[in-house]
């Protein structure tokens, strides 16, 4: 029943993308922290995208993990954005005020294209 969290990391221009799959709860700490390390370890990206399109469950401990990632990114002067949140988790981002600090895009393609700016 439980789907452990997995993460795939890749870069698009100056943006690092962390695509999360499964459940973001206390068990996701190692995966999320390792993914962030990998994401910022090469290329020194100015923005990190957290994609939640394949995430089915986020609990309060998962929210705390996201807060920790955001705190670290802010200390490193990086921007964090999110994509692929369901309506419910979008609401939770609003209630917790995460959306005041993390710009939320509907999907990953939109996030990446917006972050890349207008085509030349």
């Amino acid at each position: 029943m439980k789907k452990s969290c997995e993460a795939a990391v890749h870069a698009v221009g100056g943006t690092a993308v962390i695509e999360l799959t499964g459940e973001v709860d206390g068990g996701a700490a190692g995966v999320l922290n390792a993914a962030y390390e990998q994401a910022v370890g090469s290329g020194d990206p100015g923005t990190v995208v957290l994609d939640f399109a394949r995430v089915g469950y986020i609990n309060s401990t998962g929210i705390a993990l996201i807060v920790s990632v955001l705190a670290r990114a802010r200390a490193e002067r990086r921007k964090v954005v999110a994509s692929g949140l369901s309506e419910h988790y979008r609401e939770i981002f609003d209630i917790t005020r995460l959306s005041d600090f993390i710009e939320v895009f509907g999907d990953l393609d939109t996030a990446v294209s917006q972050l890349a700016g207008p085509a030349a």
């Binding site: 029943m1 206390g26 309060s60 401990t61 705190a71 309506e87 209630i95 917790t96 005041d100």
Partner: protein, 168 residues
């Protein structure tokens, strides 16, 4: 003066889960199944599921202290249009988990509050009313989701409803 008789509460489900990490998922799935025919709109069902998961996690971790042999009891009742979920551990009267203060994201980002401590905040903001009562070792958190599509307002610290309540 006329009065309208309120329908008797109807039990939709009653079950127990062992106090093991992750069993909050079991509880939320069983509650979702129990209320499937109640007409609760999907967005409000998602809110109830989150509240049930957080309350069950608290009961497992802080009430029953993760002892698998001690069950968390869950009862789902329909009272008129309202859905009421009671989640009971055997930890007696205990302090709510996490910091006493309301979570403040900016303080957390600045390291002045720990990153954790969102559970009760989420519960309060997901349901229309929350009551806590203790009867000997039985510590119950009761969550009410009203019918008719009421939208909870962001929580400002109070509790609603009758019975013995404790300030959280």
């Amino acid at each position: 003066m006329t009065s309208v008789a309120r329908p008797a509460p109807r039990r939709l489900a009653a079950f127990a889960v062992p106090s093991e990490p992750g069993n909050e998922r079991l509880a939320l799935a069983r509650v979702a199944e129990a209320v499937a025919a109640s007409g609760l709109p999907p967005a409000r069902l998602e809110r109830l599921k989150t509240a049930v998961a957080e309350a069950t996690m608290n009961a497992i971790e802080h009430g029953n202290r993760g002892r698998p042999e001690v069950p968390v009891d869950v009862e789902v009742t329909q009272e008129g249009d309202d859905i009421v979920v009671a989640i009971t551990d055997l930890g007696g009267e205990h302090a709510p988990p996490g910091p006493a203060e309301e979570p403040d994201l900016l303080l957390k980002l600045e390291g002045e509050q720990q990153a954790r401590g969102w559970g009760l905040f989420l519960i309060r903001n997901m349901v229309d009313a929350m009551q806590v009562r203790t009867d000997g070792p039985r510590h119950t958190i009761q969550l009410t989701m009203r019918g008719g599509g009421a939208t909870p307002v962001p929580h400002s610290g109070g509790l609603e409803g009758g019975g013995h309540e404790e300030e959280l």
